[in-house]
Amino acid sequence: MTGIGDNRNAPRGTPRAKSRVDMGLTLTATKRGRKTLLIDNSLNTQTRAGSDIADILKLSAAIDAEDKENSSEEAVGLLSTVGQSVYGFQKKTTRGGRGSKSMSTTRGGKSGRGRGGARGSSAAVASRPKRRMASSVAEDDKEDQREDDEDEDEDEEDEDEESDRDRGHNAAKVRRRDSVEHGQDDGEGEDDNVADDTLEIEDDDFGHSGPAYERYFQDLHTTKGSKTSDNTLSKLPPLSQAECRAILSKVSIKHKDELELLETLHHRQFNQWYFELSCGFNLVFYGYGSKRRLLNILATSLSAKAPAVIVNGYFPTLNFKQTLEKIITEILGFGDTTGSVTDLASLINGYFESKSRDVDRMYIVIHNIDGPCLRKHQAALAVLASCKNIHMMASIDHIEAPLIWDSSTVTRFNWAWHDLTTFEPYTVETSYENYGTETTEIGPRGVLHVLASLTENAKNIFRILAEYQISESVMDGDIASASKKAGAKVPEMPYNGYFAACRDQFLVSSEMTFRSQLTEFRDHKVIQSRHATDGTEFVHIPLDAATLGTILESMD
């Protein structure tokens, strides 16, 4: 990224304040031409002379003397204005050409929101001499002044477009004046480009709010070169999961010989791993490739002497409590398996710590300890692993997997890490996932399937949203079908309105039931929700009105 790109969005507060400052200057110019002139002059002298605070003080004295009839408040405001801008100029001069350019760039990013106007006027203004400009701006600025007083708070989204353009217009002029004063005409064109860019960022709203500097990293990669084509996978023939498996089973393995060698090398370490286990370490294996087969072999050979448990952590509906219960009933031989996961884990731990026990030791192999269903059970797993008679071997595959452990958990686990790169395909681990990419959407048939299994109430909840969407899209079609863009979204219903509608029809009694109902829909991808920039939630069914109509019909 270039320097310009880097800080185009970053210092949002400063340029804003500065443009206000500049506007303040021109404002006073409209009221009291002479005074502005004075200030302008003094500013110029100051910037040239390098200036100090004393000048400002002198200046303020002069101002005070000049308009004694004015309220002192205004004078103070003016003074502070002058002070700020002096500071700004000083900064510019010290930073030199480059620095000032980047500053004006940032301002461009801000002020360029009314883009056409800004560009046009700045071009026009550029040809005028600076002294005359100040007065010629005066007419515009009179209107500005009122607005400026009104929206002192920084909320720009609410301003109407007209004032936006004025503001941009104005700021652009001021900017031009600055650069004329400093003899820096370059970078103007860039400024405008940047301004356009900024506008685009604001246009394609990703549903995130906040000041620009907070979105810096987000925008870093979105704005640049992320123009991906609109091709979709629908161009390819559909391929079912079974077909995929059938095809893949026939595909020859690449690097067969090398991988066999790799595996023998891994096999040679089995003894060492056993030694490490017996010394009280637990093993965790990482690296690319399915480690499942090797670990199963290891577990099987270890199970000759002591019971071994194999847990498939990648299993999408793994119930860790059931796993623990199974261990307790089948290995420990206890009948009573009530209690929470933590209780059960400490029960097992307690059993293997105690002196009188039938089972000497136990091996646990966990494939994908970072699996989705095990992520929240790491503390319980750590309790198991911390027992010196329970030996744990786990594999991780997700590249950020170590983040699931905090420092005390990691101490309990007492891991010794081993690289077990096998290059084996994750056939089993990924077999539960949907091949292809239709995971995010659900066809009308899917929706019908889901609805068929739901209660009447839930169906009606769905119906409300569907009807709303149909009616909205009909309205849209009537009014503004022309303005419809390519990526126009299906109409969305605000969450609160949806809830109110459902409650009015006695479909839900509380928000809680409503939300749980919604969650169910969301899990089945029937309903999707989205948070708008201001935080309100919108829900919609990702289907068009026609499809919804057919669904509603077939529901009856």
């Binding site: 990669h221 690449k254 791993w273 990482y286 099987t300 009530t338 590249i399 997997a401 091949y435």
Partner: protein, 794 residues
């Protein structure tokens, strides 16, 4: 759904996630043997579907021998190592580690002891005023629960040890202690249940004996209590119980330790404090909060109301630095273990501690792993049997402290010894001495001679070096006592200087010698006394053997003694100055009584007091100078680098890389390397890039000038990975697919026949699925058929 998914093996199922393999019971074993004999098939385990469908036996190269045999030890030298040698290694590891571990535990306990006993004192002194005020005075109008806030440092992993020590000490003081962890106390009822369970347990132990049964006291819960509902566990029950107990024991308190205060839900602690305060007139409850962060966290999590109910006192138990110093002193400097650490490994050990989490357990873990690696994988680790640090074992073996090796070394082992560079250097040095040539020749040819004569010689030198090193460090520490605090270095750093280079090259050496030269006579006298004590202590402690130093023609005790005498009586110098100034006082100024007192610039800088110190005569000054020279020369010899010692390759552990990969791994880098630089793992010829083929051009540039070409012989996922690296944040799946297929289509199998579109598609989908599984990409809803890239850079 028409899904005919067939499980890959018995441990794969669409409905079951947990499989249990049980070892065959004896009866079953017999049965199986009977069954197996005719069919001669092996079967392990007794799960429903027999396991022998497993394919692992098809791998011919897998030795099916029992892993558990010999505790996992294997014979080295490709299995040619004698079995006794392997057994010896196994035994030696046990012999070495068990006491060492105990030693480390003791050290930790000892270091923590002071702080712990402070807390104990606080517990005892709490509520004293309540007890005394009962006699006729009015009770205070407010109730406060006594609370100790214990700052225990960021090394949360070690806290269970620390608080265990605290608990043990409190229990032995006759108090009733509950040690609570946040993971068991998610709500107030469970917390109270935990608390009462442990308190009751204290009683049951109490009734038997305190020292017994500590093992079960550690358990957070008794197995029997699990499953019982937390009904009836409340404070009134505790009050009832207390009313019975307190009659027996007057001074005991009920101590509730919240080990990880930050982990508790604030509401739970809040409620608990309110309840406890309500009862504190009847039950003397003392709360102990373990804090890893700062006092702020109490203010942040608790309400003002409940903080005001606490009578807080703070304690600082962050002593992991002292602890590590003590551990390094006893393990490395005083060589409690045979195995010491070389520079790289020691640095890795120290870095892990200082830069990561101040964790003692992490330190111990690495130490243990290094010892394991040493005895498991180093064929010469058997030699450590000859160097026996535990004195009682080899009292018979005389002052040399070298024992007989119980086994004869094999040919491989002796060869390996001869191959060590330090051994070669040792022999080279021998050549010139009288009869040296025969000695060397015999050492090179005769295995028995090597084992019986040369090895003990070398080991003796090693042991002697270590003793003098330990003395050297002790002396440096003694000198440091006379330095201002800011100039003192902790032991761990001193040892690092000691192993990393010659000590007189390190920065600290300058500080030390400058400080020495700045000393005045009385100070120097004190220092000499101190050093004398140190030396005599070292001599007395172990039958000291300074032959290493002697080999450099320096007799440490004698030298120190001489210096001490000298400074005590500087006038004596004039008499025997002629005898010994040839030794170490080269740097001394010319003996010219008439010369000016301040002779050089260095004097000016270092000893400005000479200008106006009228008391010290020239004689004294010269004596001072001489003493400094003595001390420096002693230190220089004692703290010479270990690389000069024979067999240091064996006894100074070097595999820092192993330690790093085992304890600070980089799983993401491993996966990325496997996908992006596959050759590192499988070293195949087919994926070699063009730049590597043209070796002649720039041999060294191979690594830097990586070829980013994507060849079809690469793994599918690897191809997909490399392609995705070229993308931005959003990746269009279809475009990705087209790129993928354009690469894959070059495959030989596809060149002849028309590219099977569906096969490529299936392989692509698998690759994408794996990428998603690994966490490189995730699906998104922003645009149809797009995924988001999640990793950047290499």
């Amino acid at each position: 759904m028409v899904d005919t998914y067939k499980p890959v093996d018995v441990f794969d199922s669409m409905t079951e996630s947990t499989f249990i393999l049980k070892p065959p019971t004896q009866q079953q074993q017999k049965k199986q043997q009977q069954q197996e004999n005719p069919s001669s098939r092996k079967s392990r385990g007794n799960i429903k579907n027999t396991v022998d469908t497993l394919s692992f036996e098809s791998k011919g190269n897998v030795q099916n021998s029992d892993l558990t045999e010999n505790g996992g030890y294997v014979r080295l030298f490709q299995g040619k190592e004698p079995i006794e040698s392997m057994r010896l290694r196994q035994k030696l590891f046990e012999q070495m580690w068990t006491p060492l571990e105990q030693l480390l535990v003791d050290i930790e306990k000892k270091v923590n002891n002071a702080g712990v006993s402070e807390v104990c004192k606080f517990v005892e002194s709490s509520y004293k005023h309540v007890e005394t005020s009962e006699k006729g005075q009015l009770a205070a109008p407010f109730a406060e629960t006594a609370a100790a806030v214990v700052f225990s440092g960021v090394n949360t992993g070690d806290h269970s040890n620390l608080f265990q020590t605290l608990q043990d000490q409190l229990v032995s003081g006759g108090h009733y202690v509950a040690l609570l962890e946040s993971q068991y106390c998610s709500s107030l009822p469970t917390m109270l249940k935990c608390l009462l369970d442990q308190i009751y347990e204290c009683v049951s132990i109490d009734s038997i004996s305190i020292s017994e049964n500590k093992g079960t006291a550690m358990l957070p819960m008794l197995p029997a209590s699990i499953g019982a509902k937390a009904i009836g566990y409340d404070m009134s029950l505790l009050r009832l119980w207390w009313s019975q107990v307190s009659s027996r024991k007057k001074d005991s308190r009920v101590v509730v330790i919240l080990q990880d205060f930050e982990g508790f839900a604030p509401m739970v602690v809040d409620d608990f404090i309110r309840i406890a305060t309500n009862y504190c007139h009847e039950i003397p409850i003392v709360a102990v909060f373990g804090l890893a962060t700062s006092y702020e966290s109490i203010h942040q999590s608790l309400t003002k109301a409940s903080i005001s109910m606490l009578n807080v006192e703070r304690f600082n138990l962050q002593r992991s630095k002292q602890c590590i110093d003590a551990a390094i002193r006893s393990v490395f400097v005083e060589s409690a273990s045979v195995l010491s650490f070389g520079v790289e490994a020691y640095k890795s050990l120290l870095d892990q501690f200082l830069l990561y989490n101040f964790s003692i357990s992490g330190f111990v873990k690495k130490l243990k792993f290094a010892a394991m690696d040493f005895f498991y994988a180093h064929p010469l680790s058997v030699l450590s049997v000859m160097v026996n640090p535990s004195k009682d074992d080899c009292t018979a073996a005389s002052a040399s402290s070298i024992c007989e090796c119980p086994i004869r070394l094999s040919r491989d082992q002796t060869e390996l010894i001869r191959m060590q560079r330090s051994v070669q250097r040792f022999l080279d040095a021998k050549v010139d001495s009288a009869g040296g040539r025969r000695y060397v020749v015999q050492a090179l040819v005769d295995d028995d001679f090597l084992q019986d004569t040369v090895l003990p010689d070398m080991l003796r030198q090693l042991v002697s070096y270590r003793q003098s090193y330990s003395l050297g460090i002790a002396m440096v520490l003694a000198i440091q006592e006379f330095l201002p605090e800011s100039l003192q270095k902790p032991l761990r750093t001193l040892h690092y200087y000691g192993v990393s280079q010659a000590f007189d090259e390190c920065a600290h050496w300058k500080t030390l010698s400058a400080a020495l030269r700045r000393m005045k006579a009385p100070e120097m006298e004190k220092l000499m006394q101190r050093l004398k004590d140190t030396v005599s202590l070292a001599v007395a402690a172990k039958n000291a053997d300074f032959s290493f130093a002697e080999s450099k023609s320096i007799d440490i005790p004698d030298l120190i003694q001489k210096a001490a005498v000298l400074i005590a009586d500087p006038d004596a110098l004039s008499q025997d100055s002629d005898d010994d100034d040839d030794q170490s006082s080269k740097g001394m100024a010319k003996r010219d009584p008439a010369s000016k007192r301040v002779r050089t610039r260095t004097d000016m800088e270092n000893r400005p007091f000479l200008l106006f110190d009228k008391d010290s005569s020239d004689q004294v000054l010269r004596a001072l100078d001489k003493c400094c020279g003595y001390i420096e020369s002693v230190l220089r010899v004692c703290l010479s680098p270990y690389q000069a010692v024979p067999l240091h390759e064996i006894f100074y552990y070097r595999h820092s890389l192993l330690l790093d990969t085992t304890f600070s791994p980089q799983p993401r880098a491993a996966v990325q390397a496997a996908l992006g630089k596959t050759q590192y793992y499988i070293n195949c010829d087919c994926c070699k890039s063009a730049s590597q083929d043209s070796d002649g051009l720039g041999g060294d540039n191979q690594d830097s000038g990586e070829d980013h070409r994507i060849v079809p012989t690469m793994n599918d996922t690897s191809i997909a990975y490399r392609l995705h690296q070229e993308c931005g944040r959003m990746i269009n799946l279809y475009d990705w697919f087209s790129a993928f297929s354009s690469v894959v289509e070059q495959e030989e199998s596809f060149v002849q026949k028309e590219a099977a579109q569906s096969e490529i598609q299936a392989r692509f989908l698998r690759a994408v699925e794996e990428m998603r599984f690994l966490g490189f990409i995730k699906s998104t809803q922003r645009k149809t058929d797009h995924v988001v890239r999640l990793t950047w850079g290499m």
